[in-house]
Symmetry: C2
Subunit: 339 residues, 2 copies
DNA sequence: GTGAAAGCGCTAACAC
DNA sequence: GTGTTAGCGCTTTCAC
């Protein structure tokens, strides 16, 4: 089952290599034969076999996308949204996308190894950055093209990465709350292993310090990104004798969970407590109240990452880059003046 | 860069073919040499090159996943969620996942052609079913293994598909509204080209007819699945002189849009109008109010589809199947008694 | 139980 | 400008 390059060659009355050259649009082939060969390809319904091609020239036209280890990473709209950006560019440049998932860290590590050694993909984009991530070391050691979305914890100058300025962003959004008159401001973070959590926390601290507001340990909660985590967090926070009047949450999805939970306590956002968060996933405008959040331009992160990766794939010597995608504060109705 | 089967062979003091047999766990190889070869593989850090393998035996260990043509299909949590199901099983069975997107119907058609003829994948799963979809014909003509999530419009007995009983589900959820005392019930559907829209609409009609309720054309609106569509729909519907008191919406995400829009009109769900919808995406419980919706077990759709596909890939003669994943009505707070 | 050799479909020297 | 040839890394007869 398959029309091969030989069939096309025969049909067009040329050698297989000529057909190959036509495919790669080699300038040394005359327009006349190009036309003839193309016609033959079309008539026969020829499609090149990528495996043969990859075997011969050691390049797949594919990039690997690595999701964080979890069985539900895809539940956070952040990932589908970066994926959209990635697949937009990949498609445009005729690259296919391989997705690699795994529910344990070990599984995803193995998956990447298979991708790399098995020559499945030309490069990979990591959709997250973990503290001391051995994947980074592994990819560097193997001199395999990759980019990370987020900020690498080590070797930051050696790794091309696309990130937001999460420290400043967090500082800005915290200041937003401070300017509204809030003095007791909580923080609900995600996985402490993720660099993004650390950065946003740092920005939050910076803002408090500059405003001479106390950084209280008990206002400070870490859980997973998803809903259930958010709910636990709220429970702890609101049981305090002096609960915060405003809270910075690292992720919109988590913020939804928090709002719902508060509702169960009879607390309304923003009347009883103000909330700001991050990401501006498309749902943030649909909730009640719509969220005041930091738009980090997720789609753009995917686009830039993919562009960089493809550059790097095409030219291994391409220097490591850092691209900071600007953020935008989206003011909606989840945070108000402290009364 | 690359340890090949020859390196392993040399290291283990055997021929390449022996190594190959060890990889495929051929019973004719003695346990002793197996052990020796495996050790060599491990010591050398050997990983098979899939392209070479695919070339030689015409099988990739990969399945293709086809999203509907759109630049934002991934925005609807339905797709990431099926993808989770798919990747769970695929991973378990050591298949990789290729995703194919495209923003026009033509692009995705071409993408599938490349997958099929280029021998990129062993089979594909289509995540939607469109009326008169030429992809179905194409795949059948080429005798290429595929399954569809949803109900094929034609050749239904020749195509393995995983679906819900959307007609009955829609009828049931409409009856739910009727039992609550609603008599003026609207319907907001998605793309009319999608079989799922048609089925759910039919169920809605059936319920109205059985209850001797009039099927009014003006209660009946079609738009795209996403937010903007939902908003337009509401605008039309609520401008009626006798607006509905309840409405059936084919998609949770669309329902969110509707709720928000109603809010802008000063109408509250469920006090002023009741809403029921479909899918039970994880956000349906987080909105205010939480949605009464039909849980169609999206994850399970992905799981079943992938299992069927892999069976079919392994055995081309596997008969066409239909698997109906049961639905569950999730009662929450978006629909109440008509007062 | 294991080795030798041919070949999967393509590309990339090297010829001319 | 185009043909010839030798692999790419693996699987799979066919020998022994």
């Amino acid at each position: 089952m398959g029309i091969t390059i030989k069939d096309v060659a025969k049909q067009a009355g040329v050698a297989a290599s000529t057909v190959s050259r036509v495919i790669s649009n080699n300038p040394r082939i005359s327009e006349a034969t190009k036309k003839r060969v193309r016609k033959a390809m079309k008539d026969l319904g020829y499609h090149p076999n990528i495996h043969a091609r990859s075997l011969a020239n050691k390049s797949t036209q594919a990039i690997g996308v690595v999701l964080p280890s979890s069985d539900k990473a895809l539940q956070n709209p952040f990932f589908p949204e970066v994926l959209r950006g990635i697949s937009g560019i990949a498609h445009e440049q005729d690259y296919s996308i391989y997705i690699s998932t795994g529910i344990t860290e070990e599984e995803i590590y193995e998956g990447v190894k298979r991708m790399v050694h098995g020559n499945r993909v030309d490069g990979v984009v990591l959709l997250y950055s973990r503290v001391n991530d051995r994947l980074h070391d592994y990819l560097i050691e193997n001199n395999f093209p990759f980019v990370v979305i987020g900020k690498p914890y080590h070797q930051i100058d050696a790794i091309t990465h696309i990130d937001n300025d999460n420290i400043t962003a967090a500082k800005t959004i915290t200041n937003y709350l401070i300017d509204l008159g809030h003095e007791r401001i909580g923080f609900i973070g995600g996985d402490r292993d993720l660099v993004v959590t650390l950065d946003r926390m740092q920005g939050y601290h910076l803002a408090l310090e500059e405003a001479n507001l106390p950084v209280k340990e008990e206002y400070h909660i870490h859980e997973e990104f998803l809903k259930s985590g958010g709910q636990e967090a709220v429970h702890k926070l609101m049981s305090l004798t002096e609960p915060p009047t405003g809270v910075v949450i690292v992720d919109d999805l988590m913020a939804f969970g928090v709002i719902t939970m508060l509702d169960e306590f009879g607390l309304k956002v923003p009347d009883d407590i103000s909330i700001v968060s991050f990401n501006n996933i498309y749902l943030s405008q649909l909730t009640m109240p719509p969220l005041t959040t930091v738009d980090i331009h997720i789609y753009e992160l995917g686009v830039q990452a993919t562009k960089c990766l493809i550059e790097k794939v095409k030219n291994k010597l391409e220097p490591a880059k850092r691209i900071i995608v600007p953020y935008t504060i989206i003011e909606r109705n989840s945070a108000v003046d402290k009364k």
